[in-house]
C-alpha cells in the first residue's frame, strides 16, 4: 500500500477495454445489427469496428467443435491480422505447440489456453519457452461454491475440479503464463458487476496482468473492477454486441473517474 514515504508510481500505462467475440464456424455467435457495419456476423468486420471505436485489444474465442476447427482458426487469425491494427488473442481449444504456432505465424499476438493447460501444465511452459510468456494467456473459469472458495472449472464451465482458483493461477504464473483471463461463472451473464474479491486476490498476488471477465453491466462496474479490484483489463461481450454500452462512452466515463485510459 502507498504510504507517505513512497514515491508516486511513475507509469503512463492504461487500463484496457477488451471486447470478446465468440466464433463458430467462422461466424460470430452473438451480435446484432450495427448501422456502421454491413455484417456483424463477420468477426473481422465486427472486430475492425470495435478497434475503430477505441477497443484496446480483442479476444476471439472459437467454439467450433468440428474437425475443421484448426483450418478455420488459421484462416480467421490470418484475416484478423490482415485487417485489424490492434493486438488480438485467439483462444478456444488450443491444446498443443502446433496449434499455437499456426496461430502465431498467422498473426495472432497471443493465444489463450484453458482446459488443455490444466490437463497438461507443461503446455504453458512449452509455449512460454517457444514463443515467450507475452504470448501465453491462461484463461480460468472459476466459480465460488457454498464453502466460499473459488474453484477451477473446465470444458467451458461444465466440469468442476477440486483445484482452487488462486492456487492454479499461481502455478500457471510459475509455469510461464504471461497474463490471466479470469472469468467468474457466478457473475457471467448477470450484468450485476465483476467478481471484485477474486479479481483483487489474483491481481494483487500475481506480478502478471489480470483481465477481469464476467458480469460487467454498467460503466460503474468497470470503474469498480479497475479502482477496487485492481484489474489490468476488463473484458465483456454482450453489452458491447447488443449496443447496451458504447466503448467511447465507457472510456470517457472511466477517464472522468481518473482511471488511466487511452482515448
Amino acid at each position: 500500500m502507498e504510504t507517505k514515504n513512497n514515491p508516486p508510481i511513475l507509469s503512463g500505462l492504461t487500463k484496457r477495454i477488451i471486447p470478446c467475440l465468440d466464433i463458430k464456424d467462422g461466424r460470430t455467435v452473438k451480435g446484432i445489427h450495427f448501422e456502421q457495419i454491413r455484417d456483424a456476423g463477420d468477426p473481422v468486420e465486427l472486430g475492425a469496428f470495435y478497434a475503430q471505436q477505441g477497443a484496446d485489444e480483442l479476444v476471439f474465442l472459437d467454439i467450433t467443435a468440428t474437425v475443421e476447427k484448426r483450418k478455420t482458426f488459421k484462416e480467421l487469425a490470418n484475416r484478423i491480422a490482415q485487417h485489424i491494427n490492434i493486438p488480438f488473442t485467439v483462444g478456444g481449444g488450443v491444446s498443443s505447440i502446433d496449434d499455437a504456432s499456426i496461430l502465431l505465424h498467422n498473426g495472432a499476438d497471443k493465444v489463450s489456453v484453458n482446459t488443455a493447460a490444466f490437463k497438461q501444465p507443461d503446455l504453458i511452459t512449452q509455449l512460454a519457452n517457444e514463443f515467450g510468456s507475452q504470448f501465453v494467456v491462461l484463461a480460468i473459469d472459476t466459480k465460488q461454491e457454498a464453502d466460499g472458495q473459488w474453484y477451477v472449472y473446465l470444458n467451458g464451465g461444465r466440469t468442476k475440479t477440486a483445484m482452487l482458483c488462486m492456487e492454479w493461477a499461481q502455478q500457471a504464473y510459475n509455469a510461464g503464463a504471461g497474463e490471466i483471463l479470469l472469468t467468474s461463472m457466478n457473475n457471467d451473464g448477470t450484468k450485476k458487476g465483476f467478481a471484485l474479491d477474486i479479481t483483487k486476490q489474483l491481481s494483487t498476488a500475481l506480478p502478471i496482468p489480470v483481465i477481469a471477465s464476467g458480469g460487467g453491466g454498467t460503466m460503474q462496474h468497470f470503474e469498480a473492477v479497475f479502482n477496487h479490484a485492481h484489474a489490468d483489463a476488463a473484458l465483456a461481450a454482450s453489452i458491447f454486441h447488443f449496443k447496451e454500452m458504447g466503448i467511447p462512452d465507457l472510456k470517457k466515463y472511466l477517464k472522468s473517474c481518473n482511471i488511466p485510459i487511452r482515448l
Binding site: S11, G12, N85, Q134
Partner: protein, 195 residues
C-alpha cells in the same frame, strides 16, 4: 520502393507485413544479404528473447551485415534492443549500433512486468515522429528497456522515464509495436517509408 523485412527467428513477422500492406506497401521477407542490401528501406522486427534472436542472426551472418547497412533501418521491439550494445536478457552482446545498454525493469511492488498495453510517447523528435502528437498512445509488450540516452526521439514512463524510440544516422528503433498501435503506429510506419 523496395522494403525488405529481415527474416530470422523473430516471432510474429506476419503482423508487420500486414501493417505495411494496410498503408499500401508491399514487402519482401528475406535473410539474403544481396536482397537486403538492394532494399530502399529495411525493417528489423523482433519478438521473443534476445540471446536466441542473436544466435538466429549469427546463423546467416546477419549480425555482420546489419550494422553496416546504409539505408534507413527500423528496429521494432526486440529489433530495437538488438541494435543496442548489450542486453541484460541472458547477458547478450548485441549489434552495437547504439552504444547503449538494454536493462531489465526493476521489480516494483505497484507495477507489473512485462509492461503490457498502451502507454504514451512524449518529447518526440526526428522525421520518424513527424506530425505525431505528443502523448500519443502506442502498444507495448516488454520486460527490458533502453534507458534515456542521447539518441532518444521518444520517451515513455514505466517505473522510470526511458527511451521508447531512438535514432542515430540511418538507424531507428521503436520499443512499441508500431504494427499494432492503431492509427499512430500506421503514421510512424508511413513516416519511416517516407524517409
Amino acid at each position: 520502393m523496395k522494403v525488405v523485412i529481415i527474416e530470422y527467428n523473430a516471432g510474429n513477422i506476419q503482423s508487420v507485413r500486414y501493417a505495411l500492406e494496410r498503408i499500401g506497401i508491399e514487402t519482401i521477407l528475406s535473410n539474403d544479404h544481396a536482397t537486403i542490401l538492394s532494399a530502399d528501406k529495411i525493417i528489423f522486427p523482433g519478438v521473443g528473447e534476445a540471446s536466441s534472436a542473436m544466435k538466429s542472426l549469427q546463423q546467416n551472418n546477419l549480425h555482420l551485415l546489419i550494422p553496416k547497412l546504409k539505408q534507413p533501418v527500423l528496429g521494432i521491439c526486440v529489433g530495437m534492443q538488438l541494435l543496442c550494445k548489450y542486453s541484460e536478457e541472458h547477458n547478450t552482446t548485441c549489434l552495437g549500433v547504439f552504444d547503449e545498454p538494454v536493462k531489465k525493469f526493476e521489480i516494483d511492488a505497484m507495477l507489473k512486468i512485462p509492461q503490457v498495453g498502451w502507454n504514451t510517447i512524449y518529447h518526440l523528435s526526428s522525421q520518424l515522429m513527424r506530425d505525431v502528437p505528443e502523448e500519443s498512445y502506442c502498444y507495448f509488450v516488454h520486460s527490458y528497456y533502453v534507458p534515456h540516452n542521447q539518441y532518444a526521439i521518444a520517451i515513455t514512463n514505466y517505473i522510470q522515464p526511458y527511451a521508447s524510440a531512438i535514432h542515430k544516422n540511418n538507424f531507428y528503433g521503436v520499443q512499441f509495436h508500431a504494427e499494432k498501435s492503431a492509427q499512430i503506429g500506421e503514421k510512424i510506419l508511413k513516416n519511416f517509408i517516407a524517409l
